[in-house]
């Protein structure tokens, strides 16, 4: 008991629920839209929660789009900055992830279109070299297995990079973010049938380029 009896006395009920040690347990169970509305109301902690929830997927998506983690993180920063700057006028008209990926796709497509591919190509090689360090798999491979794996990975990356930008975005959202056609259509602002067409052509191209790896 504190000498002046101030802090140590707990007038509150005892907490009955034990939580696990994961920091994720600090995230309130609210949906994204509700959190974003709180951000609109000035609650910056909710922005932190949204960042924690979606940072990974945005960076992953952009990394595969532009094939450079450094660029992907810069673009991802820009995505969240735009989310933050728009907080005052946010309305939950669409799913939050749709909006988020719309911004991310827009920035990714712009980056590709603006002809930074030459730099990207160099960074692709650098990142591949870096990537092998950062992305060391858990299981242990022999040297030969590792070389084969890295060669395969390089081919996959190059195959994705060879896709037209919009097909690339559609495949990445479909394959790696497991988005439904309807959501991809909302992100790309086109019809579902247009998305299916994009994906059909993209996978056809990938099958022809990567069949020998299967």
């Amino acid at each position: 008991m504190n000498p002046d009896g101030i802090r140590t006395q707990a007038p509150q009920p005892s907490w009955n629920t034990r939580v696990n040690n994961s920091v994720a347990s600090l995230a309130a169970p609210q949906g994204d839209a509700e959190l974003m509305l709180r951000v609109r109301g000035g609650d910056q902690a909710s922005f932190g929660l949204l960042l924690e929830r979606h940072r990974g997927s945005v960076i992953r998506f952009l990394d595969r789009m532009v094939q450079s983690q450094a660029v992907a993180e810069e673009l991802a920063q820009e995505v969240f900055l735009r989310v933050y700057k728009s907080r005052g006028t946010y309305e939950p008209a669409a799913k939050f992830t749709t909006w988020l990926f719309r911004i991310a796709t827009h920035l990714g497509l712009n980056w590709i279109r603006d002809g930074r591919n030459e730099k990207g190509q160099e960074s692709l090689d650098e990142t591949t070299a870096e990537g092998t360090i950062k992305q060391v798999p858990d299981r242990v491979r022999t040297v030969e297995q590792e070389l084969v794996y890295q060669a395969k990975l390089r081919e996959v990356r190059q195959a994705i990079e060879s896709l037209p930008a919009k097909q690339r975005a559609a495949v990445l959202m479909h394959k790696y973010e497991e988005m439904e056609y309807s959501e991809i259509a909302n992100v790309l602002r086109c019809s579902e049938s247009a998305v299916k067409s994009l994906l059909f052509r993209a996978y056809e191209h990938l099958r022809s380029r990567l069949a020998h790896l299967a």
């Binding site: 002046d4 009896g5 101030i6 802090r7 006395q9 007038p11 907490w15 629920t17 034990r18 939580v19 040690n21 920091v23 347990s25 600090l26 995230a27 309130a28 169970p29 709180r38 109301g41 000035g42 609650d43 910056q44 902690a45 932190g48 929660l49 924690e52």
Partner: protein, 170 residues
Amino acid sequence: MRALSLAKCAIFVLCLALGPMALAQARRGALRPAKTAKNVTTPIDEFMRMSPVERQKALNRLPPAQRRRLEERLRKFNELPVERQQELKSMYNRLNQLPPEQQQVVRRSLNQFSQQPADRKEAIRQELKSIAPLSAQQREERLASPEFREKFSDKEQGIIRDMSQLLPPK
């Protein structure tokens, strides 16, 4: 017209001159406005703005049981409606802006309040709500009034008087 333009120019120069100081102030505040502003952030806000890695590091300094309890408390706080969180933060900041000895007095009163029976707590709460919209002078008059003294015991009067310092200034 010329004088007005010169005056505007002077104001502009002054603003630019004060810029570096404001820059330092704003940068120190990061996402936080200056401490004298209305919506001062709390240690809880600062904690939630830390990266997950930093938060985990900070939590790991605590013994496991204490860490789990803190996580649960934070979770419950974050689950409160935004308005309620803001209300609590405002009162918290008003408390922490008091001189240290006054803070002790108010915290002691809060402790005493917590020990009151439920019906007396409610009566005290209602009294505080009713004086919240009053000006400082009106609050003083109310707290000195015979009706107030009849309604509340000496201890309760002390509690109300102390906790009135947490009310928003009018």
